[in-house]
Amino acid sequence: MNFELLFQLLLNGLIVGTLYGVVAMCFVLIYKSTQIVNFAQGEFLLIGAWVCYAFLVEMQMPFWLGFLFTLLFMMAFGVVLQMVVLRPMIGEPIISVIMVTIGLSIFFQAATKWIFGATTATYPQVFETRSVNLLGMQIETAYIMSFVISLFIMAGFYWFFKYSKLGLAMRATAFDQQVAQSLGISVKTVFAMSWAISALVSGVAGIVIGMVNGVSSALSVIGIKVFPAVILGGLDSIVGAIVGGVIIGLLENTAEFVDGQYLHWGNLFSIAPFYVLIIILCIKPYGLFGTKDIERI
């Protein structure tokens, strides 16, 4: 048994898992506050990464400025998307809502391929050193940065929902829309804001992953990987999303290890989360932390 490789893979899993957790958190945020399942979450990452690339490489901006502009763009993008496409969908059956976000997903995926090309692009080097030595292992600087940023975003979410006024309004809306509205909370603003925040944070995640792996349409796969994570954690639990993301990240890399060392099937790491997903849905459909629906006639 190759412990060094296993340890390296588990560390990778933890880092990738926190990123999954961040994206899953964005997904849950939208689901919790607007009851919309966003199949286009992966495309948010894609758009964020490509827009930042356009600012940095094609307009030659310094990193901090391009990054800032990308954040602004993603925020506006989220608001506009909610207002134009998702607002007419309020009150429609779930199949329509799902299909609209799926439609958005293929639209944006094709659009980014058309505009930016189907090949992988890389950001200009941000860090001086490519990798650092930590506990006897080589770790890429970008990985450490992504881990730190993920933790930072999670802390930010915690603060936002616990202490800020808008965060409280969003929690109130998620709890009961009518009550929230009668207390003077603008549900429209809350809906728009949750899409804006989700797009913004996903965009950041996209940039981070783009720095590590390069920007290409493969980024949108993360949007699919989010489903095992959120189902595992519970569809309406933010803590569950983070836990689920980390577990899926670890699981993927463990599957890679088992596959590479013993089974030699190939490709197991990308399919293992979906087997887990089916099993969870069969035995515990509401996940680890999700609330169980009780239906009445």
Binding site: I102, F107, L281
Partner: protein, 357 residues
Amino acid sequence: MAGFSLRPCGDFRTTYRQDTRIFDTTYIRNAAILGIFAVAMIPFVLDGYYVNLFIQISYFAIAALGLNILVGFTGQISLGHAAFFGFGAFASAWINNTTGIPVLLSIPLAGLMTAAVGMLFGLPAARIKGLYLAIATLAAQFILEDFFARAEWFTGGSYGAAANPINVFGYEIYDDFSFFYVALFFLVVMYLLGTNLMRTRDGRAFVAVRDHYLSAEIMGINLTKYRLMSFAISSFYAGVGGAMYGHYLGFVSAEGFTILLSIQFLGMIIIGGLGSVKGTLMGTVFMVLLPEVMESGVSALSIFEWASSTAVTDGLAYIKEMAIGLAIILFLIFEPDGLAHRWQQIRAYWKLYPFSY
């Protein structure tokens, strides 16, 4: 779903038999039969391009009808229909290649095999519904895609599988002209079966499960049984459609059955109209013709400089994909009941013209 009848005032139905007729009036029935004959004339009148388009429409329409039975009539969402379509294609080729059963028989057998697989992946549907089911079927899509790439004994792995042409009583069907009639035959049979299914007890049970599953259960409808049955029937249709696809192309490769095709199937039934057999056909026609129309549209616009630039000609594949996404979004926002509903409205408009009271 949202359809209203165009019968004149005072024309009441007095028996249950009258109420469940497939065609509302004799005129509509005769028109439909004439329509089939008119379609059968296509290969004599139009050239091969249109015959090919019709064959495409027919195998997609069969699979899409299966999806509509599942989604539109039973209210279960499936994002993995393309995987079942693909499974049918491989299964038929495999049955024919290994056992030598004639193709015409192996197509329904492949449908049955696919139905079994569909029931396997429908098992979670016994407990979950709506969004959770959508995600479970999404997982089924990826698992089956992975299976296609892996199971070399069944699919030929990355090389793909060869599928023999259809053989009817010693007469081998290898060109579009004769395949057209096989496709038409299957299309009519499968659509008649689908329409009749909705008039039976089981079909009504599906609709009851869709409309309010708790009430349906209280009325004595076995939810698990009907949900599984719906998955089985839906997969059967997908399998038959897929098998036809395989034998038409003569070759099945694992790359064709991605999530994008699943989404296209869903797009067909949404654009056509959920819960409408006629709408399914309309939606399929729309979805198959959309890229073709766009392609000819772009070449017609090439007199302008911007349309003949490399950005447009190289990106045509992406533009087509964007159009599919956009069509789904626009239909959901502006015409959620689909083309079938729009068709009803147009008919009502002309029937009542000029006094649309």
